[in-house]
Each structure stands twice: as structure tokens, then as C-alpha cells.
């Protein structure tokens, strides 16, 4: 599903847009995430969390080592091979990256239109996913007319509307208050329950404490792995949500509309995407 092997990454000149090569932002990062897993990506600012995520959603290629995402080895794959894999990945950015001149509906519909879905069939799907994130009344609104939390929910709707096999989120709760952050995590967890592999980078330890799950911890561009438990071969398949369903969590989730058990789409073919061959 997602496999990093001795990955090193350098940015040009220490920043993305200057001349020579800077120091290694990532050093010998090695891990593997099995299909259907939920993983936290933790570490202080500047530790390389965003770099790991950008390698995962193919916005970067490794300087050395190998990154394998959904069966594609990105270090040497031809450029044209990356686009189809990107279409199977959903990304939630801290700054949303919505297109400000498109309505919420059109922003969410983008991945389906890029995949060539006919207009008639995508309308129902987009409306359903907007309902799932609680924005069914705001489909025609432009992003600048929405609150931060609403924009974040549009961003997540866009990330999941095409049922990605891999969903990565970079500090998705950075702009949200606690309640909205918990709600966002419930949505991500719901996607994970339906089969997507989910990776969430955050420095919000409260959130991690509420939703315990396997974690990759980065420090100074290296995987912080004191007990050697998270490298390749480590058992990350254990769903740590299950062992910790304490009452406090249940209370937090209960009042959240809409009910997280409702599948976002009811197309019969979507059931297939949930089968274990996602990886």
C-alpha cells in the first residue's frame, strides 16, 4: 500500500525555489503501511511530516531510496504514470486549497470530472457526500462565503468523493476548534472503516489521545523508532480504535451529524472498492 525504503529527500537550496541542493530533509526513512490501516504521523514542526506526506501523495519524488504508493514505485516511474495514481489518493491540506471561484459543489466534483465521470451520474454522488459532511445547504456557496470549518469539510468531501484507496491529511485540524477537529477525525475514521488507508499528520496530542492508533514519529528528518517496532514488518494492522472505545469518546461522537455509519455513496460498484484488494 505505502512503503518507504531508506528514503532520503533534499530540497533545492534548503527551500523549494532556490538554486543548489539543501541538507537532507528526510534521512533513511523506512516503514510500511498495510492496506486499510489508520496511522498518525507525529513530530515537532520541521521534523519532516509534510515531506513524508508529500512523498505519499506524489507531490514529490524521493532524492534517494524508494517510495511505493498503491503499487507505483515513484522514484523512477515515468511522469505520466503518476497522474492515474494521484487520482486514487485523497489529500486534505491544512490550508484547504479550494478553488475560490468554484462553488462548493464544483470543488467537490473536481476529482470525478477529472476521472471523466458523466455530469448526470456525478451530481447525485456530490450531493450525497456534501450531505455526509453536513453541507447539503451550501452546495452553491463559494469558499470565501464559508466559515473555516465549512471550508475544511468541503476539502475533505473533495478528498473522499472518489473513494480514494489512500487518504492523507496534513494538519487537518490546524484551523479548527476542538469540536470541529473531533468531528473531522470522525469523518476520517469513517473513511478508514470503509476501507481506505488513512494517514494523518498532526501535532495535536489531545487528538491523538482521543483516537489512539499506530503512529510514525519523526524527529529531524529521521523516523524516531526507539523500540524498532514501526519499521517494515511491524504489525500496524491492529485497529487500536477497537480496544479503546471508552465512554468519553462515544459521547463526543454521538451528537455529530450526520451519523458516521452512513456510507457516503450507495453505488453498487462502490462495494467493490472496499474489498481487500485496495492495496
Amino acid at each position: 500500500m505505502v512503503r518507504f525504503e531508506a528514503v532520503g529527500l533534499r530540497y533545492p537550496g534548503g527551500g523549494p525555489h532556490t538554486g543548489s541542493w539543501g541538507p537532507e530533509a528526510l534521512v533513511d526513512v523506512t516503514f510500511a503501511l498495510p492496506p486499510g490501516s489508520f496511522t498518525w504521523l507525529l513530530g515537532p514542526s520541521g521534523a519532516g511530516k509534510s515531506s513524508v506526506l508529500r512523498l505519499m501523495h506524489l507531490a514529490l519524488r524521493p532524492t534517494r531510496g524508494e517510495v511505493e504508493v498503491l503499487g507505483l514505485r515513484s522514484s523512477r516511474a515515468p511522469r505520466a504514470a503518476l497522474a492515474p495514481v494521484r487520482r486514487r489518493i485523497g489529500v486534505v491540506f491544512q490550508d484547504f486549497r479550494l478553488l475560490p471561484y468554484l462553488s462548493a459543489f464544483d470543488n467537490v466534483a473536481l476529482p470525478l470530472r477529472l476521472a471523466g465521470r458523466p455530469e448526470a451520474s456525478l451530481r447525485a454522488d456530490v450531493n450525497e457526500i456534501l450531505k455526509w459532511v453536513g453541507l447539503d445547504g451550501k452546495a452553491a456557496s463559494l469558499p470565501p462565503e464559508l466559515s473555516g470549518g465549512e471550508q475544511q469539510r468541503v476539502a475533505i468531501a473533495r478528498a473522499v468523493v472518489h473513494r480514494p484507496a489512500l487518504l492523507v491529511a496534513d494538519e487537518p485540524t490546524g484551523n479548527l476548534d476542538n469540536r470541529q477537529a473531533r468531528r473531522l477525525l470522525a469523518l476520517l475514521r469513517e473513511m478508514n472503516r470503509m476501507g481506505a488507508t488513512v494517514v494523518v499528520a498532526t501535532h495535536d496530542e489531545d487528538l491523538v489521545a482521543r483516537f489512539p492508533a499506530p503512529a510514525l514519529v519523526l524527529r529531524d528528518g529521521r523516523l524516531h523508532d526507539p523500540d524498532g517496532a514501526r519499521g517494515i514488518g511491524a504489525d500496524l494492522t491492529v485497529d487500536r480504535f477497537a480496544p479503546h472505545p471508552d465512554a468519553a469518546e462515544a459521547d463526543d461522537l454521538a451528537p455529530e451529524p450526520p451519523p458516521p455509519t452512513a456510507p457516503p455513496r450507495r453505488d453498487p460498484d462502490l462495494g467493490d472498492r472496499r474489498s481487500p484488494d485496495l492495496g
Binding site: A59, A80, A83, L110, R113, A140
Partner: protein, 287 residues
């Protein structure tokens, strides 16, 4: 309604690539191209017509022509090194040419006419005439054809120049389109990165730019060509006396219509291809 409109334009190119600058510049260039086209056609017609007139670059008239005098003149002329060819004009053909003026009266004496072709049009025909007059007294050399030949050469070079102008206009148009496309890329950089991140192929993004730019260029070309038509019609009216002896030529039918009609599609293609190349090269900076 607004949503429908935007859904087909996820890059917001209607706003990023809008305004009158690009169509205006392309319109000006289409105007220049139309002028060059008309110039090329006009020069070609003049050259063609003058070339025909210059077929007999030099003619020799032999008064009181009898077969012996004409024969003597032919022999003398053919012996000259600068003469490539000398042919006596058939008296019957001559009579037919002159009939409209002289009627069918065989009694009027008609001079013998010899058509000369020279090896080099820069030779002074007066010298030929002087030498010929020694052998055949009274022979006259008429050299207007030489001037016509030189004019025809001038017209041919004007035609070539017009074609060079046409190519230059095309190149400048491509450069203008490239600059406009880069401005559009800069304005929509974030949107392009979002679409790229969502898995849009280079062809998807480049195609959107290329269609938009191509349409703007074609629109500009339509305006520019339409503006050129009255000016060209006027010019053709003025050039009429040199072009058509018939005089009945309508100035509008004299325009280079195939070329003019082709200008907007060509502008679309230039805009489309330039935008494709510019956007694809730009996209290669993204992984």
C-alpha cells in the same frame, strides 16, 4: 446558471485569459497578414502579366519587308552572340493581330516583325539595332519588353517579401500567445497545482489553456481580417488598371479569399499549438 458556467472552466480561464489584449494584438497581426496576402497575390498577378508581356523581350521591325530582307535580318541576328533566338513572326498571325485596326485590306504594306530573345536582359538593344541596320537598312529595334522583364523581376521579389512578412507575422503571433499564456499560468498557478495534485494529466490542463487561447486568437483574427477587407478592396480598385485589361474585374472578387478565410483557423492553430507547448513545458516543473 453560474455553476453550470464554472463547471466547464475549473481553472477559471475565462477570467485569467480574458480582456481585449490578446485578441486585439492578434487582430492587428491578422490585418498585417491579410495585407501581406493581398500584396503577395497582387505582386504575383503583376509578375505573371508582365512576364507574358515580356515574352518577346525585343522586337525588330523590317519596313518594306520581302522574304529576302527578312531572311537576311534573321541570319545577321542569329550570328550575334548576345541573341539567344530570333524568329520571324508569321505574316498571317501578324495580319490577324492587326486586323482590328487595319481591317482585312491586304493592300496596306505591313512591316516584317522578328521576335528576339536575348541571352542577358542587361544587353543594350540599341547596339543590336545599329549593327542590324548596317545589314538591313531601315530595320528598327523596339526594346520595351526589357523594361517589362525588369519590372516582373521586381514584382517577383515583392511577392517573396510578402511571404516573408507572412511568416514573420505568424512567429510574432506565436510569441504574443506564449507571453499571454504565461501570464495566464502565473494567474492560475494555485489552481493548476490543485488540479495537478488531484491527478489531472498534463494534457487535461494544457488542453484547457490551448482551447481558450485558440478561441481568443481566432476571434481576434476574424476581427482583423474583416477590418482588412475594405482597405484591400480599395487597393485592388486602384491597382485594377494594371491587373485586368478587361476592366470589369470586381474589386471584391479580386481579393485573395482562400487566404483570408484561412486566417482565423490558422490563428486558432497557432494559438492552440503555442499554448500547448508553453503549458506542457511549464507543467514539467511539477513532479
Amino acid at each position: 446558471m453560474a455553476r453550470r458556467r464554472h463547471s466547464r472552466d475549473p481553472l477559471g480561464l475565462r477570467r485569467a485569459l480574458s480582456g481585449l489584449l490578446l485578441p486585439g494584438l492578434v487582430a492587428a497581426m491578422a490585418l498585417l497578414a491579410a495585407l501581406a496576402l493581398a500584396g503577395a497575390q497582387g505582386a504575383a498577378a503583376l509578375a505573371e502579366r508582365w512576364q507574358r508581356g515580356a515574352a518577346a523581350a525585343v522586337t525588330v521591325q523590317i519596313p518594306d519587308a520581302d522574304a529576302a530582307r527578312v531572311q537576311r535580318a534573321l541570319v545577321t541576328l542569329r550570328a550575334m552572340p548576345e541573341v539567344a533566338d530570333a524568329q520571324a513572326m508569321d505574316p498571317q498571325r501578324l495580319a490577324a493581330l492587326l486586323r482590328p485596326w487595319l481591317g482585312a485590306a491586304p493592300s496596306i504594306p505591313v512591316p516584317g516583325v522578328i521576335e528576339l530573345r536575348l541571352r542577358d536582359s542587361r544587353v543594350d538593344p540599341v547596339l543590336i539595332g545599329d549593327r542590324l541596320a548596317q545589314a538591313v537598312p531601315g530595320a528598327l529595334v523596339e526594346a520595351h519588353g526589357l523594361w517589362v522583364q525588369r519590372l516582373a523581376a521586381l514584382a517577383r521579389s515583392l511577392q517573396a517579401l510578402a511571404l516573408v512578412v507572412l511568416v514573420l507575422v505568424g512567429l510574432v503571433a506565436a510569441a504574443v500567445v506564449a507571453v499571454a499564456t504565461r501570464a495566464g499560468l502565473a494567474a492560475r498557478r494555485d489552481a493548476i497545482e490543485v488540479l495537478h495534485g488531484l491527478g489531472a494529466r498534463d494534457g487535461d490542463i494544457a488542453g484547457r489553456f490551448a482551447r481558450r487561447v485558440g478561441l481568443l486568437a481566432a476571434g481576434g483574427a476574424v476581427v482583423g481580417t474583416a477590418a482588412a477587407v475594405p482597405a484591400l478592396a480599395l487597393l485592388i480598385d486602384l491597382a485594377g488598371p494594371w491587373l485586368g485589361s478587361a476592366g470589369a474585374m470586381d474589386s471584391l472578387t479580386g481579393l485573395p479569399w482562400p487566404g483570408l478565410v484561412a486566417l482565423p483557423p490558422v490563428a486558432f492553430l497557432v494559438g492552440w499549438a503555442t499554448a500547448q507547448a508553453t503549458v506542457r513545458r511549464w507543467l514539467h516543473r511539477l513532479p
